[in-house]
Symmetry: C2
Subunit: 230 residues, 2 copies
């Protein structure tokens, strides 16, 4: 079944898309007759068939509704620096509620911690399982053992929360590909770390002009994504 | 000094505003020669004078830079239902980092708690003070004693996080007035409570299709506002 998903204002028998969503169909190289998934960002999701498609306008026909409605259109990953004490538990719990499919732990230059015990990792995985159940998700996010920041690979888009960043998440997020959000340790990522990420195609985004704790930043950033309706 | 603030992409000697921001100047009944504040959402803020103003375009001239750059353009209030245990401390701490000017505690129909001790209130105020300092704000948010939801009054806009809401915060937030965000207790607000708020002009906004804990929702919602750059 098609993995391509298109956001629509509401699931209707025939859905006419405006220029932005139509461009998205062209980017995906879709043609009349192709199948996509449509979602309204509120939990409703269905199959749909492309009926008409021209330069700036497309018409889709609704098919059967599908499950998986509490998952984001493409997988959402949180890449988060190791934090001291029990802070990671709270981050894992909130991130699970906010829809992440994976949590990748990171070792960074200004690391609060450089490693994590097997027992603690097991505990984080249990937290993800509990939180997934509580928030009625069908998916339990993977919590992946820490890797150095330089070894992080991603597909789609990576957004890094950066004090003083000029760009806003809402202006960049379009859910046409998987999304990774990355937040640093207490004290932040180092300048070379940020520069390295941007060179590799990451985009820095603002979380406002104040200093956030390392455990608040991921929840705020994932909250911003959730507020986008996905 | 003027309280009117206008968001600009960057602080420059002469700043030309597009139709949306120009409409905002008309709403504020400003005329050439009037003074406003301009801010870039990244912490820079300055005085500016309206040089030209027609239907869909305005030109502002930059004045001196001003302080208060880590505060939102208009006051941001969090109205939050009483929560059990120490959950409110975490909410107050994160809300302070995320820029709220006031935290109004609420008694709601499905209240986790119906009152709060004087000692606990004092503790919450101390948490706000510490968090304000840590996030380098000049302002310490007020933490106001609980009132019944029906007694809540607000000026400007009120956004209530509501599962299944159709509207997105990013499509509604424009910082032309004070903003209040409201989140409920574990189990949510009752239907009559939500209906009452909407009748009084509140707007419900989505935080995605999953169920959030009562202590996650305010951080997610305020995170979404912070990601708007203010």
């Amino acid at each position: 079944m098609t993995r391509h998903r298109v956001r629509v204002p509401a699931l209707r028998g025939k859905m006419t898309l405006g220029p932005a969503e139509t461009r998205h169909l062209h980017v995906l190289r879709l043609r009349p007759g192709d199948e996509v998934r449509v979602f309204d960002g509120q939990g409703a999701e269905a199959r749909a068939t492309v009926l008409e498609l021209d330069e700036s306008r497309a018409v889709l026909e609704l098919g059967e509704e599908t499950a998986g409605a509490s998952e984001t259109p493409f997988p959402l990953t949180l890449a988060v620096a190791l934090l001291k004490g029990d802070k990671l538990s709270e981050v894992v719990r909130a991130a699970t509620e906010l829809g992440v499919a994976r949590i990748q732990l990171l070792v960074t230059a200004r690391a609060d911690a450089r490693e994590i015990g097997e027992q603690k990792l097991t505990r984080l995985r249990r937290v993800a399982q509990e939180a997934s159940k509580q928030s009625r998700r069908a998916v339990v996010p993977d919590v992946l053992s820490p890797i150095p920041l330089g070894a992080l690979h991603w597909t789609g888009r990576l957004f890094v929360a950066q004090p003083g960043a000029a760009q806003r998440l809402g202006d960049l997020l379009d859910w046409t590909a998987p999304v990774t959000v990355l937040t640093g340790p207490e004290g932040g990522l180092s300048d070379p770390e940020v520069a390295g990420l941007l060179e590799r195609g990451a985009q820095s985004v603002t979380l406002g002009p104040r200093i956030l704790r390392a455990e608040t930043a991921p929840v705020a950033l994932l909250g911003a994504i959730a507020a986008y309706g996905a």
